[in-house]
């Protein structure tokens, strides 16, 4: 059940999606064009401050409401959520671990969308294994000098500020004690080397970022203490996984909705295909996946909002919902037959978008390991 507030918020979002987004998705997506005017509306809607506390100019929404917004938008165009998802995780790192001065300096600008960006964690040689990063920051007076390369950075081209994970101590044992997280605004020494081409998740820029003697003031080190970066980065991943899970629910829902409609219109052997058992079995499974995925996301969000550890629940939601999106998009294509394979309908987009959620924000292989480890830790023999 949604609260009246949530209903009003989701209603406002839906109106925008139906009036301005849905009619444009196909063109922008196929051209892989950045949705400038939609981003302007998203700013007005306050989405760049959705989870930022109200005292810093955000909406202060709980993860529960926020994930419903993400799902709703993903039902129409999943890519759009990428423009503010990682941005808000960067903001949550500042909210949770930043100094008061950092919160005042950055959060209001994040909330208004004046300063947008995301996370810069992944490197060409490592993603899931973050402790293996090689980007280095060396203290030099009041500054740090950073050298290294980051890749697959969402909003890398259109964003201007990133939570940048670096090594500040190469010798530290365990390795994560030598990692730190900076707020890096674009400037001399910070360049975007190229836009990365992808099979889906179009419209949003994923880029490679190069740091070549890039100087950042020591005051931009989140929490102004070295060695906590790994902890800060992981802290944001719970919300990140709830995000990705919510996207999965959206794509799974969209695939189901299109399929239910098409199965009633398309006829074979004298009746609509929804009356054939072969299709009914598919629809039954797809709908159950949607419902189960949604409930897992709601559960993880509820625990997150209660301030409790939710890596296991967020992992379950992320794993299940992303697989649901993948399976539903595949089944939607089978139900639609040749039309599903055609680029005229939206099904092919779901099919290209869904794998992103299985891979991004910690692979699904990793999620199952996290779940198992937590399971053992919470149930000692």
């Amino acid at each position: 059940m949604n609260s009246p507030d949530e209903d009003q918020i989701l209603d406002a979002i839906s109106r925008w999606l139906e009036r301005d987004v849905r009619p444009q998705v196909k063109e922008l997506e196929h051209a892989d064009r950045y949705p400038e005017s939609m981003v302007a509306t998203m700013k007005e809607f306050g989405l760049f401050g959705a989870t930022i506390p109200r005292e810093y100019g955000g909406l202060g929404l709980p993860a529960g409401t926020y994930s419903k917004i993400v799902t709703r938008i993903s039902e129409v165009w999943m890519s759009l959520t990428g423009i503010f998802n990682s941005h808000l995780i960067m903001a949550s790192a500042v909210t949770r671990f930043g100094t008061e001065a950092q919160k005042e300096a950055f959060l209001p600008r994040f909330a208004s969308g004046e300063l947008r960006g995301g996370l810069a964690l992944t490197e060409p040689d490592c993603g899931t294994d973050l402790q293996a990063i090689r980007t280095r920051a060396v203290r030099d007076g009041d500054d740090y000098v950073i050298n290294g390369t980051k890749t697959w950075i969402s909003n890398g081209i259109h964003g201007s500020c990133f939570a940048l994970l670096v090594k500040t101590d190469l010798e530290a044992e365990p390795r994560h004690r030598g990692m730190s997280l900076f707020l890096a605004e674009k400037g001399p020494g910070f360049t975007v080397s190229r836009k990365l081409e992808k099979i889906g998740y179009k419209g949003i820029d994923s880029a490679e970022l190069i740091f070549d003697n890039y100087r950042v003031p020591a005051s931009s080190l989140i929490g102004e203490a070295e060695g906590r970066g790994f902890h800060h980065a992981l802290g944001g991943l719970e919300l990140g996984r709830i995000n990705v899970a919510a996207r999965g629910v959206g794509v799974a829902n969209a695939a189901l909705k299109d399929s239910v409609r098409y199965a009633q219109l398309r006829k074979t052997f004298g009746k609509p295909i929804c009356e054939h058992q072969a299709i009914q079995l598919k629809l039954g499974e797809m709908a159950t996946r949607c419902e189960a995925a949604r409930l897992l996301v709601e559960n993880a969000a509820r625990i997150y909002d209660a301030g409790e550890r939710c890596d296991m629940e967020a992992g379950m939601a992320k794993y299940f919902a992303s697989e649901a999106a993948l399976e539903n998009s595949t089944e939607a294509m089978r139900i639609h037959g040749a039309y599903g394979y055609s680029t005229e309908l939206d099904v092919e987009r779901y099919y290209r978008d869904a794998p992103l959620m299985c891979i991004g924000e910690g692979t699904n292989e990793m999620q199952r390991i996290i779940i198992a480890r937590q399971l053992v830790a919470r149930n000692p023999a």
Partner: protein, 249 residues
């Protein structure tokens, strides 16, 4: 100058309406409700007048059950300054609503009262006109353009033959047509702000208005299902059918 706008809570325009099994009306339980689209246009117009400096305060009024508060919150989130709910669980017919709105108008003394031309549920298209009769104010219905200057309103109206532009004195009742404007979106920050805006509640009794229904609905039925079509061999066969079966040419 103060502007009043009236708001009706109706079944959302995206909902496929179903008739109740006993034929007394349409199903509204567990159905998505929202602001009557013509009223949204009314709110938008009032907000534009305020942004242009013509109007200083926009007050949204709704008549109906407690749940209308939600719809009024939407008007506040769109930008209305405050809201008034005339709360009653009685079924309200257009004349009763007009009387209630007149009573509110007497209290608030607006210079302009903008009303949706009709509600998408009963399509009565009566409230604005009756309100004008009860208040004795000038009226301009089916407005597609509105200009206010020198204590007069210049209104372009959509009429059968085209567009008619009239000038009327204030205070006035304006009813909105579809092309008057395109309403803005409710944004999330404004939903939050709307919670702090004043929403007063009145009752028909306190306003001294008798709202008892005077019209009786005998029966509500679904529109008849569309019959299956037929294919004809050629244009001549079509003309023949149109002339002899359908008798339309």
């Amino acid at each position: 100058m103060k502007a009043l706008v009236s708001i009706k809570r109706v079944v959302d325009y995206n909902v496929k309406v179903r008739v109740k099994s006993d034929g007394t009306g349409v199903e509204t339980a567990n159905v998505k409700m929202s602001m009557n689209p013509f009223d949204e246009i009314a709110v938008e117009e009032a907000l534009r007048l305020r942004e242009a400096g013509t109007v200083t305060e926009v007050v949204a009024v709704s008549c109906g059950p407690l749940a209308c508060q939600e719809t009024l919150r939407t008007a506040l989130a769109l930008g209305a300054d405050r809201a008034i709910l005339v709360q009653t669980d009685e079924e309200l017919q257009p004349l009763a609503v007009s009387k209630l709105l007149k009573a509110v108008a007497d209290k608030e003394a607006p210079q302009i009262f903008i009303v949706g031309k009709q509600a998408i549920d009963d399509d009565s298209n009566q409230t604005g006109q009756m309100l004008a009769a009860l208040t004795g104010w000038s009226q301009a219905t089916f407005a597609s353009k509105l200009k206010i200057a020198d204590g007069k309103a210049e209104v372009t109206r959509e009429v059968d033959g085209g567009l008619a532009t009239i000038r009327i004195s204030l205070p006035a009742i304006i009813t909105t047509d579809l092309r008057l404007n395109e309403p803005r979106y409710v944004t999330l920050p404004n939903i939050m702000k709307a919670k702090k805006k004043p929403l007063d509640t009145l009752t028909p009794e306190a306003l001294g208005v008798d709202v008892k229904p005077r019209l009786k609905t005998l029966k509500v039925v679904e529109p008849s299902k569309r019959k299956a079509g037929a294919k004809v061999a050629d244009a001549a066969a079509l003309v023949d059918k149109l002339r002899n079966e359908a008798k339309v040419i």
